[in-house]
């Protein structure tokens, strides 16, 4: 009998020891391999950001695999050279000439070996693909280019012309002061024309967006749905850096699990830390938290195509019935600023004196009686099922609004569905009202005014109020015809007034953006103008080792 006991205790001790030993060597592998693991929140729907506006797709692709002709400086929002080393705008604002950088190498991967470097053909291919409906690649993988479609860019561009191998000329139909900014967004990536032609010849063009080839700092290695995306450093990247060798996106949908992985060191950085975890991250010495006012807006949109929400008075009454301040306190936990109009204070078009509706349930009830809303009126509030900075907990917000609306005699039904289905149903206009938001893709205010509320943005699925107003559209068009900021500001002021009078949506808050990393990771700046970038990310220990070696 004793021997059994002895055996048992030996096994237990051995197990415990192994556990401890194993624990001590935890993070070595990340250092040896000079790799960074980023816990992302979901699967990208494609590896070509031209095809999708979701920030998950942009994060996984735009700044890892690809480059653009122009880039935003993340600090001041200025447009800087990317693959175009310089550019020239004609005096009438219609012709843009881009001088391309020479010697930019495309990725050499297991599925493609490029024979030439980046040139004008790639620019023409990348733009023609979404612009030209008869382009052989236009209809590949869906044929919908939501960002460009919502801006109507295909119609703005008259022609893309090759001047020589490294010079491209783009002519517009009408001046567009946001055009350069649009070329710097996550969606205006440069694809390889050579790779596309090879796939076309092989008869498998759809692989272009699943097995991507770009010029970016990382090349694609492998993607497994719901599990991971593997990238490797692009050795001959045109902006050489001492960054990491391997990048892994560990797809972890639950935010609590992402947080756990950050604490155990399985992740070096996480997407969308939840508001509740921010305090914990700040307290821990081994984690760092970055904060930045975001270019975003969380709002409550009314389906203006459906009665009684087609009546601006009803929409205003609903907004009057809800105390915005308490929504912001309860849902954003102080990590957002109150939204007056749809543009945040970081934008130059922000209007500090913009009119907004206060909390006035008495007035709300009066209006509702005036318009003759039935006594037991019931409406739906759709609450988006995912967390975003601009609305970290739409469900909770919907419940709060429900209570406020009960006070003015309106019954509320809260709807929440799977994210993809949810967005599809919103585009179909099945909702009465929805709690959702928008994150800008570039620093230009046009990126708020146009996709959120213009008529063109209804079919492309960003105008959730389904609000179409010709006067408003005319104003937004007019604002693009000039480069003079003061003139544009005056036009946007008029647009703000129109929005306030028509009230297609209630602006709620502009949230701060957060990024949480392990303390030994540097160079992960928050990019307010788009997806995350790992180009300049480094491990501190790796840097120190390199210094020691140099000494």
């Amino acid at each position: 009998m004793k021997s059994y006991l002895a055996n048992l205790s030996r096994i237990l001790i051995a197990l415990l020891l192994c556990g401890c030993l194993a624990a001590c060597e935890k993070r070595d592998i990340q250092h040896i391999k000079n790799a960074v693991v980023y816990c992302s929140e979901s699967n990208p729907s494609t590896f070509n950001p031209q095809l999708d506006t979701s920030s998950t797709t942009a994060d996984a692709t735009a700044h890892q695999i690809y480059d653009r002709l122009l880039e935003f400086n993340p600090e001041n929002g200025r447009i800087e050279p990317g693959l175009a080393s310089s550019w020239l705008v004609s005096d009438d604002g219609l012709t843009y000439t881009f001088q391309l950088r020479r010697g930019v190498e495309f990725h050499t991967t297991a599925y493609f070996t490029p024979s030439r470097s980046f040139n004008a053909d790639d620019v023409i291919f990348s733009i023609e693909r979404w612009k030209n409906e008869s382009h052989p690649y236009h209809h590949v993988n869906g044929g919908s280019y939501p960002y460009f479609d919502s801006l109507g860019l295909a119609d703005t561009i008259k022609e893309v012309r090759r001047i020589n191998g490294y010079r491209v000329e783009i002519t517009l139909d009408s001046p567009d002061s946001s055009f350069l900014a649009n070329l710097a967004t996550d969606f205006s990536v440069m694809l390889s024309a050579e790779y596309a032609m090879k796939l076309l010849a092989e008869g498998s063009p759809s692989r272009l967006d699943r097995y991507p080839v770009g010029t970016g700092p990382f090349k694609f290695v492998q993607f497994r749905q719901n599990q991971f995306i593997r990238y490797q450093r692009h050795e001959s990247y045109f902006r050489p850096s001492q960054g990491i060798d391997q990048l892994i996106f560990d797809i972890t949908q639950r935010s609590s699990l992402r947080m756990a992985k950050l604490i155990t060191g399985e992740c070096d950085a996480v997407a969308f830390p939840s508001q509740n975890d921010l305090v914990v991250i700040e307290e821990r010495e081994d984690l760092s938290l970055y904060e930045e006012p975001g270019l975003n807006i969380g709002y409550w949109a009314f389906n203006t195509s459906k009665p009684p929400f087609d009546n601006p008075e009803v929409r205003k009454a609903l907004a009057l019935a809800v105390d915005k301040t308490s929504l912001i306190d309860a849902v954003y936990l102080g990590q957002a600023t109150r939204a007056k109009s749809i543009v945040p204070s970081t934008s130059w078009a922000y209007e500090s004196g913009a009119r907004e509706l206060g909390y006035n349930p008495v007035r709300a009830r009066e209006i509702l009686t005036e318009v003759g809303l039935p006594a037991n009126f019931t409406m739906d509030i759709w609450a988006m099922p995912v967390q975003r900075a601009y609305n970290p907990n739409a469900l909770k917000m919907a419940q709060l609004i429900k209570r406020y609306l009960e006070d003015v005699g309106i019954e509320v039904n809260i709807v929440s569905q799977d994210w993809n289905l949810f967005r599809q149903n919103l585009t179909n206009g099945f909702h009465d009202s929805v709690l959702i938001g928008w994150k800008a893709d570039n620093g230009d205010p046009d990126n708020f005014y146009r996709p959120l509320l213009t008529c063109d943005a209804i079919p492309s699925g960003t105008n959730r109020a389904l609000w179409c107003n010709k006067d408003y559209d005319a104003l937004i068009e007019q604002a693009l015809l000039t480069d003079d900021i003061e003139k544009r500001r005056a036009i946007y002021h008029k647009a703000n007034l129109l929005i306030f009078e028509q009230f297609p949506l209630m602006p709620i808050a502009h949230a701060y953006q957060y990024q949480a990393t392990r303390a030994d990771i540097t160079g992960m700046e928050i990019n307010p103008f788009g997806g995350i970038s790992f180009e300049r990310v480094k491990r501190i220990q790796a840097i120190q080792e390199a210094e020691v070696r140099n000494d």
Partner: protein, 343 residues
């Protein structure tokens, strides 16, 4: 014996048939477009739809469709997942081994720990070491698996920071899936530092294995303890004692075998419970097994995947259960009288 084998094979075939019929009708019961539910492909044009309908014999009678379904299943053509557009056969082949792996480790652990614990408790019942064992078995048996898993994560990962919370191997090891069993794949791979990889795999294994096996170990210990207590009171043991055998000899010669054989079928039946528990633990520890895969398929309304996943899991559980039943029947002569094959 031959008669018995035939009966069992008969039982397997019949059950598989019932499962096939059930799984065949699932897509007709699921909401949504029947064609997508069956094929996993959402047709973009009307021509494509018609072509698919003809290819999947949807224009023929239900009997034709069933035969076509069976043919496809056996020829390995299991359709594609609506969510990933990957072949379901590849996906199941990728995820199932991870589940089997965890089942094997948990089972080994339960046998190596649970059975000795049961013997100790039973032989020394109501004395010293028996009390902690009884306590453990009751406590372990009573806790829900998912709760234990969460407690493990809280204590060992978040508080003590000893072990990783998720996965089978650090993602930095680019391990090609050959057999699907992580430990074997490491041996077959060309990873430079294999011992580090083994260590890493082992660290990932500890918590899920323990979490799954707590319940099974507790059950094993309880059954074995009860059984050995009964056996040790039998007259042949008393006779052996009176003939002056040492307790050790008695246990080895008579106790061990006589205590284990009657409970073997009960223990074997626990394997199916174990698989269910593994599927729960997988989702908590993000273990890339069939359980996690199925839960995600359910979440994404991926009906072709749900159908194949359900079929694969139920067939494996069923064959395992019936064959363990058959094996214990074969080695336990006292049960030969029972002729009918049962679960």
């Amino acid at each position: 014996m031959i008669k018995l084998s035939i009966r069992y094979i008969n039982l397997i075939v019949l059950t598989v048939f019932v499962l096939l019929v059930f799984s065949f009708f699932l897509p007709y019961l699921f909401p949504g477009d029947l064609l997508t539910n069956i094929t996993g492909i959402t047709p973009e044009t009307q021509q494509q739809r018609e072509a698919l309908e003809i290819a999947f014999k949807l224009d023929k009678s239900i009997f034709h469709q069933f035969v076509f379904y069976i043919e496809n299943l056996f020829s390995g053509n299991w359709g594609v997942s609506t969510a990933t557009q990957q072949s379901l056969k590849t996906e199941v082949a990728l995820f199932f081994p991870a589940t089997i792996e965890l089942v094997v480790y948990a089972l080994l652990f339960s046998i190596l720990v649970g059975i000795p614990l049961g013997f100790i408790g039973g032989l020394r019942h109501h004395k010293g070491f028996d009390f902690p064992i009884v306590t453990f078995s009751i406590v372990g048996y009573s806790f829900p698996v998912f709760w234990i898993a969460l407690i493990f994560i809280t204590v060992f990962c978040l508080q003590l920071n000893w072990l990783p919370t998720s996965g089978r191997l650090d993602l930095l090891y680019d391990l090609p899936s050959v057999t699907g069993f992580v430990l074997i794949d490491i041996a077959l791979s060309d990873i430079e530092d294999k011992s580090a990889a083994y260590k890493d795999a082992f660290r990932h294994l500890i918590l899920p294995t323990l979490a799954v096996s707590v319940v099974t170990t507790a059950l094993f210990a309880r059954f074995v303890r009860r059984s050995i207590m009964d056996v040790m009171e039998k007259s042949y043991i008393i006779a052996a004692k009176s003939r002056g055998f040492s307790p050790w000899q008695i246990f080895l010669k008579h106790g061990f075998k006589n205590a284990l054989i009657p409970i073997l079928p009960i223990l074997a039946l626990q394997v199916s419970t174990l698989i269910t528990n593994v599927m729960i633990v997988e989702t908590i520890f993000s273990w890339p097994g069939i359980g996690k895969w199925l839960i995600e398929a359910i979440y994404q309304h991926d009906y072709p995947a749900i159908r194949i996943g359900m079929l694969a899991v139920s067939i494996v559980v069923m064959i395992l259960t019936i064959s363990t039943e058959f094996l214990t029947r074969a080695i336990d002569p006292t049960r030969e009288k029972v002729e009918h094959a049962t679960f």
